[in-house]
Structures are given as structure tokens and as C-alpha cells.
Symmetry: C2
Subunit: 382 residues, 2 copies
């Protein structure tokens, strides 16, 4: 049959999907070698990334008075005669960045990009390719699965869900049991964070294929509990949920090894605090702790931190003998948790608690946490 | 320790998650019995649903000149003295609706709602509870899993992914093989559609628990192929991908029964056309076909449709004997595919091809397709 005009079919039949009209799917017209970002929705020509890692954003908004891009730094966008606003950013750092468009004062997601639950809402994300991003590329290696599983929390008395990575071979090696890493997202995020922003499955698929990490299950829980804030009541409630509800459910429903030597706990930012709290209060439960871009918030959490240090001081020997890794990572001095982490380290030194400190530049951002997973996972269960 | 002010901690530490500021998390102030919609992002107080199924939308946009809600019908929102725009809709029909906010002429997602890939972008969705929505409620029944699986398409020569529902018991009944339903999304959607908008896992968990449907695998492929439009080349390419790449991969990697009696294919709208094309061209492959809100697009696809009818006419006996169900469903007269479907039915009658026709009001929308799955799944593999 003759080729049917895509546009005409849409108008006649798929009236419902009128949203296509708001995303520019036409071929790129920008000179130079800029290419659509990998994080664009299917077929969207913008945002684009230039060879020197600048990003070009566009949106058609003839009636808007002012349009800005908020990508850590705010950029004013400029309108052309057709009502299309555009801006080219400075050179961007590697990997994933949350961003918003601010249309006449309202911060919204860019219709041309995928959205990610972060900052307490569905926010736009842009991926900036870089020379070292091969570690989370989709390669011709065996691939595990990401699974979404619902469970009833006996602690929180509600249905919740977690994401779980099962490594290649999990479906066929039916007599094999696997060690488990529980990994926690940050504030304003949820159980989707490590699976999408974190690229957990690809990082592990590649590490396992290269024999750099042991095949393991990675559980990505929802770290949000009903109580609000970062007070001890919230941390305690999450620790109870983890210990009494989630871990028993995982160990009952997946082929998990169930001793401390085969259990690890890690988290970023808010998840790092949850790891510190749940990990130190249950030192018999985990042989590995990973604290990414975190540390007790000073002076806000001074009392809580002091109580934790008293507990640690009492159990220094147990902590040092039980933990095979107490791994602290920081996104360089530009990480907003830098000071808190340095205070934590000073205390650990004072108490002679063993730890490994690691730094990767990039601040309090997902590119750093992806790199943290890349470096932490190989230390586990070996 | 003392309770820490959530706000203060955010300001001091989680500066990065400034997006919270744009979503109203404060307690609802509207009089009456309106409650936050189930589709809101965590903690967002608006949109709200009233007891008579109206929805109240709010957004703070003091600098905007005009804000509208686009929810099939367009509503003008009204600004109060604090710059908050609000509107209360007419009474809404049941279940899931895509919607946009139009801020000074730009259609964007509402920061207060979850987003869903539909209309070719990440669009807002709102869930309207209704008396009969129990069939996709999260109940205290055994729950299956939704898995996300990457695979290399030998037809399309690229890495792709599908979602797959594995029923309760799949992980423990390791010697059991399962029948498979392949179910296809509509135009402007992707492999996420049936898992999120469609609530496939909950519908099946509940049906299986009530012994109304056989435990089955449900594969939710990405129906988009590189070629654009709804021409035969596109339909043919997808059919090849399905037959030569996806089905063999699924049958190799999951415990699937591999005969036609245990294979079903269904789809909505564009997915219905793919089902008609791939199903009739591979009549030995599937014992069940489900065509939801679809039918050859007239007059656009006349030539293609005529060729298909010639093929059907030649194989009437085979079609009638091979297909245990040829199930056509329509969202009432308000479905934009109504006419096309009636033309298809007339042709089937003329050719004496057996089929089952089913109607559920609601138009060309997800509430209809959820209901289609509810009614189609029990007909399969019995």
C-alpha cells in the first residue's frame, strides 16, 4: 500500500495523542554536531548535546513572557520570531542532571525529556554522555532483570513496593542462593531512583560480566515512611521496616543467602543517614555498609549523632570485627554533605573505627552515586 | 532527640531538592469532602477528587497570564490574590485520564501528579476512584511481579526492553510452564503503558486469586519500530520483530508453553492494528486474538485492509478453526475507532469469520482498556 502520512493519520484517528504537537519531532536544524540527548522522549530532537558537552534546550511558547532553564544554574532562554525559546548551556559535567523549565515563573518538566521522581516530583532529567560512561552502556553481555514487587509491610501496616535487581543466571541456576545489597535513595526520591537514575542493572550486568563483582541481588526499597523529617523517630521507623518487614520478605521470596556476611546496606544522602542508623543499630545484620554523600547533619542532628557515637564507642570492637567494609564516599568538596562527612570521619578516627574513604568529584549528584556503586559493588561478598 | 524542622533541614542540607517548593504539600484547605487523588506524587494535596467525582486542580503561578486545564475538555483556571490558579471540573468518568496544564500557551505536566508516557511525552495522569474499581485494588492476595527485561532484537538490530508480568507462584513452581499473552499499547505510548496505566499486574493478581483467570505470563513489548506511520511496512516490521525476535526470546528465557493453544495476542488502538496484522498473517501462531478500540483506519488504510480481507477470505476455515477467541472490544459509540470497528465487523460477518464483540462505555481511553483486560483474560487458556 501507499505510505500513509503520519500526521494525517494522527489527525484523523489518534486525535487523543495530541500531545505530539507539543514536542518537536522534526529533524534537527542546528548547525554543528549536536545530537539529541539519550534522555529525550522517543523521537524528540531537543535537548541536544554538543561535542563539548553543552546542552541546547528548546521549547515553543509564543505566548510566554519569560522562559528559563534551571539546571543547577539558571539560564534565561531567548525567543525567536516563531515563538521558540532556546538556550545553550555552559559545558556540563558527566552523566545525569535533574532540570526544570521555568515558564512565566512556574517550574515544570520539559515535555521533550523523560521524567524521574526526584525533588519530590516528576522532574526532567538530561543525560550528558562522556568518555567514561561505558560502565553503564547497554553491552552484549548477559543481562539480569529489574523486578517490581509489592509486599505488605507488617511494620507500617500498608502495601508498599520495592525494585529488585536479579543477576544474569538467577532464573536458571535454581539451586543457587545469592548475597543481597539493600541500597537506598535520597530525599525527594523513591524506590525508582536506583533503577532509573542509578542505572543499577547496567552497572551490575557489566561488572558481573567482567567478573569484577559477585552475582548479587540488589533490593531498592522505598525509603519514605509516614513520619516526616530526618529525626530519630523516622530513622527508627525505617530501620524497623527494613529489619522486621522487608528483609524477612526478601529472604522468604527470593533465593537470598541469609547471614550477615552476605548482606550489605548502602544509601545516598538521606539513604546514607538511614544506613548509618540502621547499620550501627543492627551491627550483627550487615557485614558491609556504604554511606554515599552523607554524614549526620550538623548542628541539626547533633543530639542524635552524639547518641550514635556513644553507641559506636561502646561497640568499637564489634563494629571493627563485624564490618568487612565501612565505606564512606563523597562527591568532592562541592558535595553539600562534605562538612558533615568530615565530622563523621574525625569521630571514627577518634574512636579507632575502621573505614574506607573514597572521593569522586561531581557534588551531591547521581553521576557521583553511579560511580559509588561501580566502586562499592566489587568490594562486596568476595 | 528533638523533632527537627523538616523545612529547615531541607533548606540547610537538601538544597538540591528545591522542587518541593513547587508542589503544595500543605494540608488541604478546601471545604467539603474532597481528597487528594491516588495519582498525586507523594504528599501532594492537589489535585483532589470530590465525592461526586469532580476534580479540583491547583497550581501556584503568580506571574502567568493564563492557565488552563486540558482534560479532554479545556477549562480556564482562575487566579486568586496569592497567585494560585484553581478550577473544579465537571463530574469525571471512572479511572485514569491523561491531562495537561497549559501555562501561557504551553502544555506541560502538572508537577503535583505522577507522569505516564502517553501522547508521545511524559504526560500527567489522574485516577478517578469509582464504585467498581475494586478489580484493580491492591488486595491481600498473592502478588506476581512486573519484570523489566532487556534483549537484543535480531530483527531491528538494537537493544530493546519489554515488561513482563509473572504470576504468583512463578518463582516457586519451578517445573511449571505457563501460557503467554502478548499485549500491545497504543500510539504515543510504549512498553510501560500496560504495566502502569493498564494496572495489568493488579488485574491479573485479583483474577487469578478469584480463580477467574489461568496463571499466565503477560509480555508487554515496545510496539514502536523505527519506521514511522501505520503503513504496511511498519506493521510488517513489528510482526517480524514479534515472531522472529521477541517470542523466541521469551520462550527461551521464561518458562512459557510454546504451542499456539497457549499463546494469545491483544492490543489497543495502534496495538489493535498490530494484532490484526500480525495475528492474521500468522494464524498458526496464536489461538486467541484481542482487538481493543481498533479497526483498519478508513479510508486511509483501505488498500491494506482490502489485502487483509483477501487473505482472510482465503483462510476463513483455518481462522475459524485455529482461533478459540477473536475478541473485538469497543469503548462505546464515543470511541474514535467506532466506525472503523463496525466496518471490520461487517466484513467479518460477510466472510463468516467467527468473533466475539464486546462494548464498554468510556471511549478511546485506559478505563475501557483495563476493563477489556478484565474481561478478555478469563477467556484465555481455559
Amino acid at each position: 500500500m501507499k505510505i500513509i502520512s503520519n500526521k494525517l493519520v494522527f489527525i484523523m484517528f489518534f486525535v487523543i495523542i495530541g500531545g505530539f504537537l507539543f514536542v518537536d519531532h522534526s529533524p534537527a536544524q542546528t548547525p554543528g554536531n549536536a545530537v539529541p540527548a539519550p534522555s529525550n522522549v522517543r523521537g524528540a530532537q531537543y535537548p541536544q548535546i554538543t561535542p563539548d558537552s553543552r546542552a541546547i534546550f528548546r521549547i515553543k511558547a509564543p505566548e510566554a513572557q519569560k522562559v528559563q532553564l534551571d539546571l543547577a544554574k539558571k539560564y534565561d532562554m531567548v525567543k525567536d520570531s516563531e515563538g521558540v525559546w532556546q538556550v545553550t548551556t555552559d559545558s556540563l559535567t558527566e552523566g545525569f542532571h535533574y532540570y526544570s523549565l521555568i515558564i512565566d515563573g512556574v517550574a515544570v518538566a520539559d515535555p521533550a525529556s523523560e521524567t524521574f521522581y526526584g525533588m519530590g516530583r516528576m522532574a526532567s532529567g538530561i543525560e550528558v554522555p562522556f568518555a567514561g560512561d561505558d560502565y553503564y552502556a547497554v553491552k552484549d553481555v548477559p543481562h539480569g532483570e529489574i523486578r517490581i514487587k509489592r509486599y505488605y509491610s507488617t511494620v507500617l501496616k500498608e502495601w508498599r513496593q520495592f525494585y529488585i535487581y536479579t543477576p544474569p543466571g538467577y532464573n536458571t541456576n535454581i539451586n543457587e542462593k545469592y548475597p543481597v545489597l539493600y541500597i537506598l535513595h535520597g530525599g525527594g526520591e523513591d524506590e525508582r531512583g536506583w533503577a532509573t537514575q542509578g542505572k543499577t542493572d547496567l552497572i551490575l550486568d557489566n561488572l558481573i560480566a567482567a567478573k569484577k563483582a559477585a552475582p548479587m541481588l540488589i533490593v531498592m526499597p522505598d525509603g519514605n515512611v509516614k513520619a516526616s523529617g530526618f529525626g530519630e523517630n523516622t530513622l527508627q521507623l525505617f530501620a524497623e521496616e527494613l529489619k522486621q518487614s522487608l528483609i524477612p520478605f526478601v529472604e522468604k521470596n527470593y533465593r537470598a543467602k541469609t547471614d550477615a556476611q552476605n548482606r550489605a546496606l548502602a544509601g545516598l544522602s538521606m539513604g546514607g543517614l538511614q544506613t548509618l542508623y540502621a547499620g550501627i543499630n543492627n551491627i550483627d545484620l550487615f557485614a558491609y555498609l556504604g554511606v554515599f554523600s552523607s554524614g549526620w547533619i550538623q548542628p541539626m542532628q547533633k543530639e542524635l549523632a552524639d547518641a550514635q557515637y556513644v553507641l559506636m564507642q561502646k561497640n568499637t570492637d564489634t563494629i571493627n570485627s563485624n564490618l568487612k567494609q565501612f565505606w564512606l564516599a563523597m562527591g568532592g568538596k562541592e558535595d553539600i554533605a562534605w562538612n558533615n562527612c568530615q565530622l563523621l570521619i574525625a569521630k571514627l578516627d577518634e574512636m579507632k573505627i575502621k573505614y574506607t574513604y573514597s572521593e569522586y568529584p561531581g557534588g551531591h549528584t547521581w553521576p557521583v552515586w553511579r560511580n559509588n556503586l561501580l566502586n562499592f559493588a566489587p568490594l562486596l561478598f568476595q
